[in-house]
């Protein structure tokens, strides 16, 4: 199975460990993983600001980089949501459609495509609060959101439960947005930061040592909020935990 690894721009710049863990984790399953060297971004910053035309060239580059793979995998629900739902600024050729359909977020790829049953190398003996990124939760169906009266399921928690030692703690507002919101975090900083403060306070009250999420962007925001408030919380991407990070 030929996999194209997409490392989102902010992971590339700020959280390279997440990209490394994703690569190594996929390789543990014997997959043929390629990292297209000229990749940049999925176009989300521009698209979410309404500037679709400004995103067109970036989207075209994304498709060019990621054509010819069986699957494209990225450690970000938000970027995958962009590719799958909103990569529409360029003509929808067969090649574009193929790339969009075959792009998966890491958790859903492990859960739904590889149907991973065990992660014998992974051990994480800590109290963990899981943070559900909104795009992963409500955009690409990682789990049953708290608003819907439907049968419960959670793909990320199913995977975390396969990691030895993980003790999950419950948040009072389990899937309330943390306030990152992409450019929202800089254009509406007061509300964004307040949402972040409330989120990290909830994590602290729940007794978490670590906060685990499938999106580095939310974690970067929450980490910044927790540090500013002086809360001793640690933030780590699910790829690192599943890959056996010793923390």
């Amino acid at each position: 199975m030929r996999i194209g690894l997409f490392v989102p721009c902010y992971v590339d710049a700020f959280e390279p460990e997440v990209g490394i863990a994703t690569l190594e984790l996929l390789e543990r399953f014997g997959l043929d993983v390629h990292y297209p060297y000229d990749q940049t971004c999925c176009g989300q910053p521009m698209t979410n600001t309404g500037c679709h035309q400004e995103a067109a060239a970036t989207e075209a580059l994304f498709v060019k980089n990621f054509s010819g793979f069986d699957y494209v995998v990225a450690p970000s629900g938000s970027c995958v949501h962009q590719v799958r739902e909103h990569l529409t600024a360029i003509p929808q050729t067969d090649a574009v459609r193929k790339v969009r359909e075959s792009t998966f977020e890491l958790v859903e790829f492990l859960h739904d495509v590889l149907k991973v049953e065990a992660l014998p190398w992974a051990r994480f003996p800590h109290k963990v609060a899981y943070h559900a990124n909104c795009n992963a939760l409500r955009g690409i169906d990682h789990a049953r959101p708290s608003e819907l009266n439907l049968p419960y399921f959670s793909k990320p928690l199913n995977l975390l439960k396969k990691v030895a030692g993980v003790e999950l703690v419950n948040l009072a507002r389990p899937d309330e947005c943390c306030g990152f919101g992409g450019t929202f975090s800089v254009f509406e900083p007061a509300v964004s930061a307040k949402m972040g403060y409330d989120k990290v306070a909830d994590q602290k009250r729940a007794g978490a040592e670590y906060v685990v999420s499938a999106d580095s962007s939310c974690l970067m925001h929450q980490k910044g909020c927790a540090e500013r408030l002086g809360l001793p919380l640690k933030y780590i991407h699910i790829a690192q935990v599943l890959n056996g990070a010793a923390a």
């Binding site: 721009c9 710049a13 700020f14 990292y35 060297y37 400004e54 970036t58 900083p189």
Partner: protein
Amino acid sequence: MSAEDLHPREREGVVNPVVRAATDESERGQDGRRLDHAEGTSKPIKAPPVREPQPRGAKIRGDRPIDQAEAAERFLAAPLHAAAHDERLWDLRKKRDAAAFGIPEWEELRELASQIKTHTLSHLDLYLEQFEAAAKANGVHVHWARDGAEHNRIVLGILRDHGARTIVKSKSMLTEECGFRHFMAGEGIEIIETDLGERIQQLDDEEPSHIVAPAVHKTRLDVAEVFARTLGTDPDNDDAHYLAESQRETTRPHILNADAGMTGCNFAIAETGTVVTCTNEGNADLSGNVPKLQIHSIGIEKLIPRIEHLGVFIRLLSRSALGSPITQYTSHFRKPRAGTEMHMVLVDNGRSARLGMEEFWTSLKCIRCGACMNTCPVYRRSGGLSYGATYAGPIGLIIDPTFNKRKYSTLPFSSTMNGSCTNVCPVKINIHEQIFAWRKVLAEEHQIPLLKQGMMKAAGAVLARPAAYRAAIGAADSALKVLPRFAVYNPLNTWGKKREMPDAPRQSFHAWYKENRMKDGAK
């Protein structure tokens, strides 16, 4: 000593012995537990220890874009108000969840309601004519208003015909849209709002900040201050019962003596020509039934085909809004009482134009429950007045630009697009997707700040060219490494103002990959 002898503050927790114990007739959740009525179980939020001035809303400067972020920042600078607002509305969201999960067929109901509304809106011309014919057959005078101004003129004409100078009215978002109160004040007509929250807002000369709970951004102390100033109550008594009773006692004489009564409309039934209102205070009944002249203002999107469809919406409305199975009053207004006159004004005010907007017409399905506001993390922390519009919160973000694209051009950006609003919407409006779609429309029509568009153009140019992107990432890394703290945490850096910056890693993933996996140049 009886309960009446106690000071209102001391009366809390005293149950009147004539109050009946809960019976087994009430609805039960899936776990078999009795479902409580949301308002009956609302806990008073602890009175703030110190008086904190109420933060005011967005600055309105004609058609200039509303600065919601600025107003929200001022709201958050009043931490007691901000905390009470968030806590109260989150409580409603939790009650909504309990009520929704108490009905196994909840998701089917939402789908059904959405389909009924979609069908009705797709045949709106037919149902409106059917409604008009049925209402006329009931002896009702039916009027058509193209916009808010025409609505106001029509109502004024009706009042003039009867020599009416005073109106009692129940809450209506439509009349807020029409600027009805301000217009009538200029014509010398006295209007008394009879909904408690709406009355508070009227006395404080504020716009509503929430569809269902118009004064939810105010604390009891704020209300005590407004009532002391306008109704002459004790400024130091912020007891909720005392305040509510004061409003009640001062409003009753107006209700008894008003020349005309007005209500809005929750549902208009085409088959029977009936206007249905849903309230918890019974004030729509008093407004409609006491005066000899009654007027109902109806947005044309309120139509549903038949009375049998009403139950679907009644089951959804109050559960979504407050977490209670039904509003205390569900009132059907169909025919004038003997010796009285009944008027219905069907108002378009931009709705037909919205119906023609391919990406946005389904916002007309809205039944004004406010669930999207209660769940919205941005709304809860901003206060409804920060939106500077009749409709605040998620539904406001997608409706307001249809009224004034320039003034409300900023609102669709006051969202993280987290999607919770869409999931709680009882008629399944894809609210967060419409917020996304509005951003595109506004950018294409250059209704977003030049600076923002310029930044996105620059970002797009860099991100489309790998070499330029690599150079930019390298610069970001090294800048973070070498810039002293004061340069990073300056007022222009809106990230660093309230959050710590991420650590700059030793190298980017890209650099790591090149160093560790490309030594042989194989990949």
